[in-house]
């Protein structure tokens, strides 16, 4: 056995056990009518669970909720993160401390952040509503039509630092010469930002947005901690809906079909965007 194969073998073995095998098993489960409460009646039902999923309006709702969540959250995180990264780059004093401090939210377990904000924003007990009350505003952060935006706000609070981390690294890796040339030509700060900084940063931006978007699709903890999908199904994200179907309603077969459809969507997005990023990398 060759040296490199010996090195690879443990990785292959554990990878097969912890990723490959479950992936295949999930596909098998998605073709059965498996229910935890009726496990001895399990049989293959073909694509029935997939058809049921596609005909389920709640599944489409979950996709829509998750889509709205990802688009809005990542959009805000990107622009906010970009401005913070620019400000950090220009900052003169106590640089290292500011950086470390602003990045802290992304290291905290999301369930803790969820519970923290559940309480901070709670209508009767929360600091923020109490504060708003004093100025005569009343705002129910987790009420109908508002809960999803509050969840998005929490995601922005926790994950903008991640954008900052990547964008700042990108900014500091840019070559200085185009900026010096722009300065000599007397270009305004805004012009420099739009015509030089942004275009040069595109490769980094696409990677950062892609990573963040794929991660945001997995949103679960905030919903679990705060709304449990409500009011009605307004914050029912795809991960939470699958969890509910599989764990609370015991329908592992159906839940597996749901997650497999999601997997297909995710993989299509990854492959398309990956090819795009590769092509911008080749001809910048």
């Amino acid at each position: 056995m060759s040296f490199r194969l010996k090195l690879m073998l443990p990785l292959l073995a554990v990878f097969t056990a912890s990723v490959g095998y479950p992936l295949l098993y999930a596909f098998y489960l998605s073709l059965t009518n498996y229910k935890i409460t009726a496990r001895y009646n399990t049989r293959l039902v073909g694509l029935k669970q997939y058809i049921a999923t596609l005909q389920d309006p709640n599944y489409w709702n979950a996709l829509q909720v998750t889509g709205t969540f990802v688009l809005l959250a990542v959009f805000i995180e990107f622009w906010l993160g970009l401005f913070i990264a620019l400000a950090l780059q220009k900052q003169k004093r106590i640089r290292n401390f500011t950086r470390s401090f602003l990045l802290t939210p992304m290291f905290v377990t999301p369930i803790a952040i969820g519970l923290l904000f559940r309480f901070l924003l709670h209508q009767q007990l929360g600091v923020i509503p109490t504060f708003l009350d004093k100025f005569g505003f009343s705002y129910d952060f987790f009420g109908p039509g508002k809960a999803l935006y509050s969840i998005i706000f929490i995601d922005v609070w926790q994950w903008t630092p991640f954008m900052v981390l990547l964008l700042l690294a990108g900014l500091e890796g840019l070559s200085r010469s185009p900026f010096e040339a722009a300065k000599v030509d007397g270009a305004s700060a805004f012009f420099t930002f739009r015509k030089i900084t942004l275009p040069l940063l595109v490769p980094v931006i696409s990677v950062a947005v892609l990573i963040r978007a794929l991660d945001a699709m997995k949103v679960f903890e905030y919903v679990f901690a705060i709304t449990r999908g409500g009011p009605a199904i307004q914050t029912m994200t795809i991960q939470y809906y699958t969890y509910q179907t599989g764990i609370q309603f015991y329908r592992l077969g159906l839940a597996s079909a749901m997650s497999y459809l999601l997997l297909i969507i995710v993989m299509v997005i990854v492959v398309i965007l990956f090819k795009r990023i590769e092509s911008t990398r080749k001809n910048p």
């Binding site: 377990t109 679960f220 997997l263």
Partner: protein
Amino acid sequence: MTTLNSTRFKPTWTSAGNSLLILMALSVFLPFLWLSLGSFKTGAQLNNPALLFFKPTLENWKEVLRSGVLESAYRSAIVGLVTVSLSVVIGSMGAYAISRYKTGGSSTRFGILAAQVLPPAVLVFPFLEVSYKFRLNDTLFAVIISHLSFVLPVITWFLIGFFDAAPKEVEEQALVDGLSRFQAFRKVVIPQVAPGIGAAAVFGFVLSWNDLFYALILAPGNSATLPVKIASFNTFRGVELGAMCAAILVAVIPVLIVSFFIQKRLVRGISGGAVKY
């Protein structure tokens, strides 16, 4: 004219930037401040969120110690340490093979990248099913296997980048000097990337420490890890609210301390060379 312009504009941009940073620092700081205060408040004091000065109570912290938060922190630490140790040993060997010998070509690299974006909902039901079959449900073993599914790819991905960046000359010299290839890998290559391995290990540990989804489904009861335990404080009854604040702090403090030390290397790892052009 141009110098005039830039001197006139520069201070406004800089002060706008600094104001933004101060605002952001406050928005990070205040929730943590509230959390720390809340962990020393009594139930009645918690009903008044604007209360800043009060006589602190240690009741919440005692309640946290009674309710087994420390035990679940201990379990989380075990899961994290075992997962990360396995991942570092297995991942560094594999990453070296992938980086130096291009094992499997670009499809191996893509496979490792793709494993990181798998929705956890796909893998969790098979884990649950198999752990039922072997009567391993509600054990740390099941949680460790599931955590390997995302920690191992991340650590391997980090390490591929670090091995790619390490110079080849030293290890070639070691081979000339009569070391076997495995000795050269262990005694020459590994020390070169040791700081990177450290950062990857800490990041992997944080990922495992923070996971709720797998742990909640695979071990919701007697083997609850820290995030699962914290989730169980989800209530609005006064006493438990203060305890919840304390429990959250138990989860937050170690991670915050650790995160301060690895941030610089983290950038290179996460972006996997994508940031470097």
